[in-house]
Amino acid sequence: MINKKIDDFFVNFADDLAENILESSDEEIISWAKENYSDPDTRINSIKSDIHSLIMKNRKEKILNPAKEEYEQSSTLSNLYKKLLNKSSEGLKDLFDSVISKSSAVPDKFVVACRNKDNLSEKDILGLLEDMYDLGLINEDDI
């Protein structure tokens, strides 16, 4: 019980002082800074500079991260192509047939668009498999 009382004491103590700091006049804040720093301007400039650096760091991260994601995506695609190109024409057709026949998740419109699949060229099949990969209907393990 005594511990709870002391815990409450310190939590309310810190929160109340923080509220009071928010309500303090500019003069009071400046006066506190003069008591605690030999040169408050140096402290102000240091905080400003830190904030500017943090803003720049976070902007850079945002610019670099999408580029990284794109790179990772493109290298996955090239691996996919390598695997597909290693297959024979028959192998590609078999893969394509197995995907559209086994997957109940293949949208109807997609199946209709491929009605004349016997006439599809190797290039068409490669393009369709790439689309299927983008749609999440196949993954690299299926190839």
């Binding site: 103590f13 002082l17 923080a18 102000i44």
Partner: protein
């Protein structure tokens, strides 16, 4: 639950940060030192605490609700980060104590460690009461804190005028600044 529109974007946060005045920076500095009080500098310094809070805001892990004043939002973020580091400090203290102890009974060891943490806090608590024993307003404020009160609720309970309350808080704050330097 608040929708995305209830929060400011990161570019709005950046604008708000660039829009802060010199006194706002000092105000945030004072708030940070308040929440970092007696927090071991090897865990996090007040300078790093303010940077950590702002970094989280810029990363979007702490989002600024549109209906909250920016400086109040920053104060809340600093409070939350400080509280997290206090937890880390406590866990580190427990780990160190456990490593240097030959006691293999975890329950007994935890009781000893809890006791050490509480003793340190109790010493500070007793010191505050002793050092303000002649200051009636401050003692009333301390009583209020123990009862879970603060601000207006505390002033109303003990019928303390706002100006008197603010002066008492300034005395406590100044005293605490001195303790921080000890």
């Amino acid at each position: 639950m608040k929708s995305d529109k209830s929060y400011s974007s990161i570019s709005e946060v950046e604008k708000a940060l660039y829009g802060l005045g010199d006194v706002d920076f000092l105000r945030l500095d004072k708030i940070t030192r308040n929440y970092a009080f007696k927090l071991d500098i090897s865990i996090i310094s007040p300078e790093n605490l303010i940077n950590e809070a702002i970094d989280r805001v810029l990363k979007g892990s702490r989002r600024w609700p549109r209906d909250v004043e920016f400086i109040v939002f920053l104060k809340n973020t600093i409070r939350s980060v400080a509280s997290e580091y206090r937890g880390k400090e406590s866990r580190l203290f427990r780990k160190l104590k456990a490593e240097e102890s030959f006691n293999t009974d975890d329950n007994a060891l935890n009781k000893i460690i809890d006791g050490e943490i509480k003793n340190e806090q109790k010493e500070l608590y007793d010191k505050l009461w002793d050092d303000f024993e002649d200051d009636e307003t401050v003692l009333e404020i301390f009583l209020g804190y123990e009862e879970g009160l603060k601000g207006k609720a505390l002033r109303d309970k003990f019928d303390i005028p706002k100006t008197e309350y603010d002066s008492a808080l300034r005395r406590i704050s100044r005293y605490r600044s001195k303790l921080s330097k000890e």
